[in-house]
Subunit: 160 residues, 2 copies
């Protein structure tokens, strides 16, 4: 095949160049540190963690495996419900596996953004398959939120 040495510039080409560039950006390039608590953590302690870390959602693990996700919305719902926040563990109110939308480090950030929009979630745990004591599951190695996506958008726009 002849090499392309130059061709006419059009919006379509510019946009597909842009999309290719975005497509080459992986979840692993932009992920944040996840905030993780154990299933036995009380709602009160988990809420304190949420405020100290200033995050919108917390991931929950048991024996090293991802078992759930709990959001500011879940906490608020339970806080106004009159439950004793010091008695109930997060494991009781969290969204439990397999009902969690996840992403892997190799996925593109577009896949992540699409999942966030389609499932209407604030963030996705970035996971990796793992085996602990002969048990198979997923460990949490990161987090992708709307904030990460908006940051990419801003960076792309500002740098050009």
């Amino acid at each position: 095949a002849r090499p392309k040495v130059g061709y006419f510039y059009s919006g379509r080409e510019a946009m597909s160049f842009f999309t290719n560039q975005i497509n080459s950006m992986k979840v692993s390039d932009i992920k944040s540190l996840p905030i993780v608590v154990d299933e036995q953590t009380t709602l009160y302690d988990a809420i304190v963690t949420l405020f100290l870390e200033d995050v919108g959602s917390i991931y929950v693990t048991s024996e090293g495996f991802l078992t759930g996700v709990v959001s500011r919305k879940d906490f608020l719902k339970n806080s106004i419900g009159g439950v004793d926040l010091n008695k109930i563990p997060v494991g009781v109110i969290m969204t439990r596996m397999p009902n969690i939308v996840t992403i892997t480090p190799e996925d593109s950030i577009i896949d992540a953004a699409v999942k966030i929009m389609e499932h209407q979630v604030d963030s996705l745990p970035v996971i990796e398959e793992t085996v602990i004591n002969n048990k198979h599951g997923y460990k949490v190695i990161g987090k992708i939120s709307k904030t990460n996506i908006v940051r990419v958008f801003v960076d792309l726009c500002k740098n050009n």
Copy 2:
């Protein structure tokens, strides 16, 4: 000036084409409906509104003017504090003007995204100057959140 009839395609040009396209998108093109309550609304009623409308923040008005913003985080902080949610009005806990980051319909969505990131807020009220009973202020005519920005990002990537 000679018209440009075609030039070599490069990443830089593609990216600036992209940025120009984004720059031409205004806040008014992508804004959502704002959820607004009066300053006298109790925390409990405001939280119910938050859940019914499934939003992360609510804008607060008094006599038609924007006076405050209250977020899921503000509500959660107060819900665990043991205050009587049925007695305290949102006016007491909201972030009050002029400490609110706002945007206008004519601003570009890049400006909106930059403000959201720089001020670490979930959303911006879209405002317009107004005069009511000889008083000057701002009315809320929309809302731009991280969700709106991520949606633009997804639409741009999917359509190309």
